[in-house]
């Protein structure tokens, strides 16, 4: 029989039939004893003498039993159970300690679990596609022109796609929106993507119903076929099993549905409808860099190889098409990395921060344990005297701390699950991959691992201390002033570490808060308060460009007539970009070519109504648009301050000058073949984000650029703008009941959302830093309070010898503050090294901003002072007589 089988059987017997095994053992030894006695009687010894000799020969029966038990299988396991049972009893005996320790651990393990589950879902979990690590995202860059990430040109993409030895398949796509409802249903807009044939095979997605695209599906514009998402199929088409082949109206085009995607598939960006890309190769200019591109690498090809090859192709294209491709290179990354690129630094910083909180919590619990093990010296000494070896004591202590961390871990896991939900609700809309966040085996393993690790981490120092105990002195000193230097220094070190860690965390939080405040001080160039915004995109056969203009003119007129409305306007490009896409156009001032510096695209807005007054964008020179700037009137344009200064010298100088607008890509008939007169100069607004700056902006009236069927409306109200949404919807429906409004927000929310994850990172970081500060304060207080208790007698003697209250105060505070100050200095050193990590999360604040560092140090010193003062005051109030006679 293999020995492990016999050991296992023995183990089972020992564990589960323990009583029987023990009885058998007693019986066997009793029999042995009798046998000895009888043998000795047979040899002629008297019965009583024989018994005496037998006892001596057998030795202590209990010790013998213990020795036999030790060879048995499962001895260690049994000892563990015993330790755990005893540990639990000890924890229950000191409920105050246990509650504080479990709460500290539970909270910090919970916070760690929550942040980790976020990191896990967003960064660690693979994308839900087969062999997702082989899916790559292709971007352009042009370092010479200062462009680090850009969409790509379709013609460049076709050149890359020919590298069939690199790619199993490739796809290019664009995103937009589709309008549903022309066929009688509820009007709504859903995200739509136009994709090339390879799209679904790059992602490895099989349709749930029907089929995916084949090359014959792409018959150019307008498209005739579509694939819809599982969600849309369920929601809008009632999970109709015969949906494939049916026709629906999407954005007033009849489309035949050819397939339904599997549940959960909504790439890219919650897309609900996929249509053929309808690219027209003969019209597509090579510098139209508006396409997104993905590819699936062949097995055995790595990212680097593909990058090298595509860069080489691009170098060739640069020579061949110098005018359009000068300086353009390509950047490959895995799709997963691309999706999380923006949030990865914040997430990792948060994980680090919450890890610090856990470390501080560990230090705190370790301190508690140290204080407790000092109180338990006598018990430990007795155990040692009874023969428990050092390892035995060490094991007992560690079992207790792991028990604590296990309870804390369970509490933490439950808390973490809840906190994850809270976190998710805090995150801004559109943060990537949130649908992947959840509790899975990785999160469970993490929580478990963290709990076990903390148990060992905070348990090991006190356990080592306890096991080093000198039995005789501990018993003699009666466990009162028996605290050795080593224990004190261990506690001091923990305290210094705690203060240092909290300082680093506070410094990080301080820098983030300061960045956030700086961001909020940024003047966006308009007044977002009391403004409601909504988008409206006219769909249907009834609308032609001149009707677009008329519809919005009428709508704005009706809205302005509503009570409480101060100004209403619309623009195809709203500041801070609530739609996520922006329209750029170039322009040429009359009479001279643009310099290189000027030739960058301007942010182009076609506006209608009282747009500038609605957003309170200041007029610097000239005038706003007026009703006379209509299709028949002279063509006019308004520019922003940056454009005026850069191109014309000053706002005043720009008035009366003329320019012509051209579209983003040449070769297409979108250039305006006429001059526009500059009639006004307005202040700059932040186009893309609060951190951006210095964009040129040009505005033209809708009546003179009527191609736009959509507008971002802005409505300035006297009261709460959110309350106006209902009126807005009613007025729109009164004009055309089939037109949905979407992206309805107050402009304050738009500003908030433009800060994205920044705000959440700052809030969380601050919460963690406050938790750290609190923990550190409690830690300092605990250590000092304990030290005062330990030194009661000494303080009594000092006072009896004439020390004043102030001397005692100074003594205690001095002791605590020395440690705190060492911690602050260590923490500052650490902060200088570590805040660099979050440098890219900061705005307008240096990673080692001296003011922040000083303020944080002062805050920590102040809190430490309070934490020291309370125990010091208690010490100073001691009555020397009582102190000396105590105990």
């Amino acid at each position: 029989m293999p020995s492990f089988v016999s050991r296992t059987l023995a183990l089972c017997r020992n564990l589960f039939r323990r009583t029987a095994v023990e009885q058998e053992l007693s019986a066997e030894l009793a029999q042995a004893f009798e046998f000895l006695v009888e043998t000795k009687i047979r040899d002629g010894t008297s019965r009583s003498e024989a018994r005496r000799l037998a006892v001596i020969e057998l030795g202590g029966v209990e010790q013998l039993k213990e020795e036999i038990r030790e060879v048995r299988a499962g001895y260690n396991l049994e000892a563990l159970f015993r330790d755990a049972r005893f540990g639990l009893r000890m924890l229950l005996k000191t409920p105050g300690f246990t509650v504080v320790a479990v709460a500290t651990l539970g909270l910090s393990i919970g916070a760690n679990t929550a942040i980790f589950s976020l990191v896990n879902g967003v960064l660690l979990r693979p994308l839900p596609f087969p062999d997702a690590e082989r899916i790559i995202y292709i971007e352009g860059k042009n370092p010479a022109a200062g462009i680090s990430e850009s969409n790509v040109s379709y013609l460049d993409f076709t050149d890359w796609s020919q590298q069939t030895d690199l790619f199993a398949s490739t796809a290019a796509y664009w995103t937009g929106e589709a309008h549903l409802g022309a066929d009688g249903g509820e009007p709504e807009r859903v995200p739509r993507a136009g994709v090339t044939t390879g799209f679904f095979s790059v992602l490895g997605v099989q349709p749930a119903l029907g089929r995916t695209f084949v090359p014959e599906d792409d018959k150019g514009w307008p498209q005739t076929v579509a694939i819809i998402s599982h969600g849309l199929w369920k929601r809008r088409f009632g999970s109709d099993p015969a949906i494939v082949g049916k026709q629906v109206q999407m954005s007033s085009m009849p489309l035949t549905i050819i397939g339904v995607t599997p549940p959960g598939f909504e790439y890219p960006e919650q897309t609900q409808i996929w249509v053929p890309s309808a690219v027209n190769l003969s019209l597509e200019p090579r510098d139209n860099r508006v396409w997104s591109a993905i590819a699936r690498l062949n097995p055995g090809v790595d990212l680097k190889q593909a990058q090298t090859r595509l860069s080489a192709i691009n170098a060739r294209l640069d020579k061949q098409f110098h005018e359009t491709n000068k300086g353009w290179d390509v950047v490959l990354s895995t799709l997963q990395e691309r999706l999380v690129r923006e949030v990865k630094p914040s997430l990792l910083a948060l994980l680090g921060a919450v890890g610090f909180v856990l470390l501080i919590a560990c230090a705190n619990v370790a301190n508690l344990l140290l204080a407790r093990s000092a109180a338990r010296q006598k018990e430990i000494a007795i155990r040692a005297a009874m023969g428990a070896s050092r390892t035995r004591v060490l094991r007992q202590m560690l079992t207790e701390s792991i028990l604590l961390s296990a309870i804390g871990g369970v509490a933490g896991l439950l808390l973490g699950i809840w906190l994850t939900d809270v976190l998710m609700s805090m995150l801004p809309e559109g943060a990537p991959r949130l649908e992947q966040v959840g509790i899975d085996y990785r999160v469970l393993t993490f929580a478990l691992g963290v709990s076990a690790l903390t148990g060992i981490l905070f348990g090991i120092v006190p356990a080592l201390q306890a096991s080093k105990l000198n039995v005789t002195s501990a018993l003699k000193e009666g466990g009162r002033s028996g605290e050795g230097h080593r224990r004190t220094s261990a506690r001091s070190l923990l305290l210094i570490g705690e203060v240092a860690l909290s300082l680093m965390l506070l410094a990080g939080a301080g820098l983030l808060i300061k960045s956030f405040l700086r961001l909020q001080e940024v003047r966006p160039g308009f007044n977002a308060h009391n403004v409601l915004t909504a988008h409206l995109s006219l769909q249907g056969p009834n609308y032609k460009p001149q009707q677009y203009v008329e519809f919005f003119r009428q709508l704005i007129e009706r809205l302005e007539a509503e009570p409480g409305v101060q100004a209403v306007g619309g623009s195809v490009n709203l500041p801070l970009n609530p739609t996520g896409y922006a329209i750029g156009r170039g322009f040429i001032p009359e009479g001279r070519p643009l310099t290189v510096e000027e030739s960058k695209e301007a942010m182009f807005s076609t506006v209608t109504g009282d747009y500038f007054r609605a957003l309170q964008i200041p007029l610097l020179s000239g005038r706003f648009f007026e009703p006379r700037d209509n299709a028949d009137g002279p063509k006019v344009v308004i520019i922003n301050e940056t454009t005026a200064k850069r191109v014309f010298g000053s706002p005043a100088a720009a008035i009366g000058k003329r320019l012509s607008v051209w579209a983003a890509f040449r070769g297409q008939k979108r250039d305006e073949q006429f001059m526009r007169e500059i009639v006004g100069v307005v202040g700059d607004t932040k186009t893309d984000s609060l951190t951006g700056q210095g964009d040129m902006q040009i505005y033209v009236p809708h009546a003179q650029d009527s191609q736009w069927n959509f507008m971002g409306l802005v409505i300035r109200t006297a009261g709460d703008p959110a309350a106006f949404a209902r009126t807005l919807r009613r007025e729109v429906q009164a004009l055309d009941k089939d037109q949905p409004i979407y992206n309805v927000h107050t402009y304050d929310d738009v500003v908030m959302n433009s800060l994205g994850t920044r705000r959440v990172s700052m809030q969380l970081f601050t919460v963690f830093a406050c938790a750290a500060l609190l923990l550190a304060a409690v830690g300092i207080y605990g250590v000092m309070a304990y030290s005062v208790t330990q030194r009661t007698q000494e303080i009594g003697i000092r006072m009896a010898l004439g020390a004043q209250k102030s001397d005692v105060l100074r003594l205690v505070i001095g002791q605590g503050m020395t440690l705190a100050l060492i911690g602050v200095i260590a923490g500052l050193a650490g902060a200088f090294a570590l805040t660099r990590v979050i440098a890219n999360l900061l705005f307008d604040v240096g990673a080692s901003d001296p003011l922040t560092f000083i303020a944080i140090s002062l805050l920590l010193i102040f809190v430490s002072l309070i934490a020291c003062y309370l125990p010091a005051r208690r010490a100073a109030r001691l009555n020397p007589t009582v102190a000396l006679t105590e105990n």
């Binding site: 046998f35 000895l36 030795g59």
Partner: protein, 113 residues
Amino acid sequence: MSIRRNRPTELLQGTLDLLILKALAHGSLHGLAIAHRIEQITNGTFEVKPGSLFPALHGMEEARWLVASWGESQNRRKAKFYRLTKTGLRQLEKETSDWRRVSSAIAAALRTA
């Protein structure tokens, strides 16, 4: 993590196991009877104390070299009798040949000047 009792040196421990196996080679015996038999067959050289005997017996039982059963001793008392299993018998053969090799090697070593 556990605390091991102080074992005799490896050789002596092995020797005790070997002697117990040998003592049981011809039939089952109860605990102290095994000690007696060892004393007999070693001409009184080895006196096995209960403190070494019983832990060794239990260890060997858990390793399934021995099985124990309760029976009646000569003086008609219930006693726990140990006997060899097949594994135990193989172990005895192996340890016997090991011992022979070691002892002849040591003897040879001691013969050299």
